[in-house]
Point group: C2
Chain length 343, copies 2
């Protein structure tokens, strides 16, 4: 019988001899085999919704590196698209979204959205069938606030428009986040039933929010998603990643109900250790350092291992792999982490 | 005999009946009288280096609002200019800088730079002569790391180039920060001798730095600046504002040697209270909320007063006043804070 995946052991709160490792954006543009695969689809959305291609993209880094978890290849903007807002990607410029539908229209679509996202479930099923049992499979969604910022602004930005609306039209923002909380919970339930063994919520734009706003638009929606998952009988652990939350990550860990907290590059060692009293932590190597490589990279990896192992700790980056990261640097970090043992 | 300025009492660690209040960017584009004054100078640098105009810009908000402190009208990029790097401002696009001089060239200019900045000293002298004795006068400089990011990148940005260089060419970045630390200390000594009673270090780009980098490029340089000020016999309290430092602000407060710590919009109430055990804190109203106004603004101001008074606390924003902020909102906040009493 295969050992329980190391990632799931860490997310159960176990300390482990070495931390499991996976890397945000481990699949994708840093891999030449991904770029070749991607060239076969016309647009990024079609690629994400093609289970054969998305499963292959998910598995590519698993063949190259001794990673402990795969994460389904998808995009956080598949959800607003499934809710009826137009989404497309401009090459080199990132996502663009059409006009925001009314809250009523979004609410009408919330139940159907998960069915429209069934190709993501099919991708998960294919990957789970192909992946060794000791390697975990992660499903994911964007955090409701982060997805709302894209829906409100129509593109990536510093979110100053969305953050302004929090104060100038709070009812609209709160209604939108509420619809997204509901739709995200359904989407994650579907992913867990399709084979995802852990679920990550990417709250990529948690920065620059005052404490009361963070509580209302990040902590409470995440807590509601976790509650809905458990109500639906989903036991899969949840990793919340409120990127840029700074010191607020401490309240997040205590109040959101997640089993794992993703930390960004800035997280102090002491804060991580305090969080480990209640949850597993994940992170927080700087992707810029991974790209730069050299002795400083090895030293920093060692420092992270020493400061947060035996855990519960999941080795990862503090943000996604940059497209121009040398693959030898990734291999070296995976080797270093998998060879390491808590002393 | 006039009472000691409330700002200086708070920075001495005194709790006060009500917090002193000033606002970052209280002078400048939000004021119509500033826009009229600014139209009299050809370019922004000349404006900053004209003591008559800069003093007038400094005093304008003091006439309009019952603020407890003035801050000299200047710009953090006057220093790299004085060190020999070309600096200019593109209308609507922000600062641009010419090629970075060699470290050796910058070192040669470090001693002379303060003399070249003597118009800022003259501005301070004029303002101090015109300002009521119970209102404090603040001098300032950019944090060495923040100024280095501009010097390395040649413009405002998300600092990803400068942050990459921290890993790919650490010797260059550290040498640049060291030169700037020296030049900044001299510049602040000059400002204190010209009438500044408190000194703020604007480390506006403290975000996204790993803990070890933050320690080396923010905490240690600030500690060195404070040490140099004291060596030169300058007793003026120092407020450090590492904007975006997240949970690292706690180590910053304990190790940088500053008397006051500026907090950005995200700072949790509990973190501020922990800092108040060692330093005065300053902040952290969201400028987006100040611009939006309404009942939510009054409620948030009250919440900040309750969570951090009697202090030591200095009421301020978590970032600068936005140019399109209605002046009635500023007046309302100043009224609310100055009428408030700790219960």
């Amino acid at each position: 019988m295969a050992a329980r995946p190391l990632l799931l052991r860490a997310l159960s709160g176990e300390t482990t001899d070495r931390p499991p490792i996976w890397l945000m954006r481990q699949a994708g543009r840093s891999l030449p085999e991904y770029r070749a695969l991607r060239a076969r689809a016309d647009d990024f959305i079609s690629f994400c919704l093609d289970p054969e291609m998305a499963a292959e993209a998910t598995l590519q880094p698993m063949r190259r590196f001794a990673l402990d978890a795969a994460i389904v290849f998808a995009d956080i903007l598949l959800l607003p698209r499934a809710l009826g807002q137009e989404v497309w990607f401009e090459t080199g410029e990132g996502p663009r979204l059409g006009p925001l539908p009314s809250i009523a229209a979004l609410e009408r679509e919330a139940a159907a959205a998960s069915a429209r996202l069934s190709p993501v479930g099919e991708t998960l099923g294919r990957v789970r069938g192909a992946l060794e049992p000791e390697r975990a499979l992660i499903g994911f969604a964007g955090g409701p606030w982060t997805v709302a910022t894209y829906m409100l602004e129509g593109r990536g930005s510093d979110r100053s428009l969305a953050r302004s609306l929090v104060f100038s039209d709070p009812a609209k923002v709160e209604a939108l986040v509420a619809v997204l909380t509901e739709a995200t919970a359904r989407y994650l339930v579907m992913q867990a039933r399709s084979g995802a063994q852990a679920l990550q919520i990417f709250e990529s734009w948690a920065e620059l929010l005052p404490e009361d706003v963070f509580e209302r638009l990040v902590i409470q929606p995440h807590a509601e998603i976790v509650r809905r998952l458990r109500q639906e009988g989903i036991a899969a652990p949840v990793i919340g990643f409120p990127r840029g939350a700074g010191a607020l990550v401490e309240r997040y860990g205590a109040e959101s109900g997640v089993q794992g907290v993703g930390l960004d590059v800035q997280a102090p060692a002491a804060l991580g250790r305090r969080l480990q009293g209640a949850v597993a932590i994940q992170g927080a190597l700087d992707p810029l350092l991974l790209r730069a490589g050299g002795e400083a990279l090895g030293r920093r990896v060692e420092a992270l291992l020493r400061q947060w192992s035996p855990g519960p700790y999941i080795f990862n980056l503090g943000h996604g792999v940059l497209p121009d990261t040398p693959l030898a640097h990734i291999a070296a970090v995976v080797d270093q982490v998998t060879a390491w043992r808590s002393r």
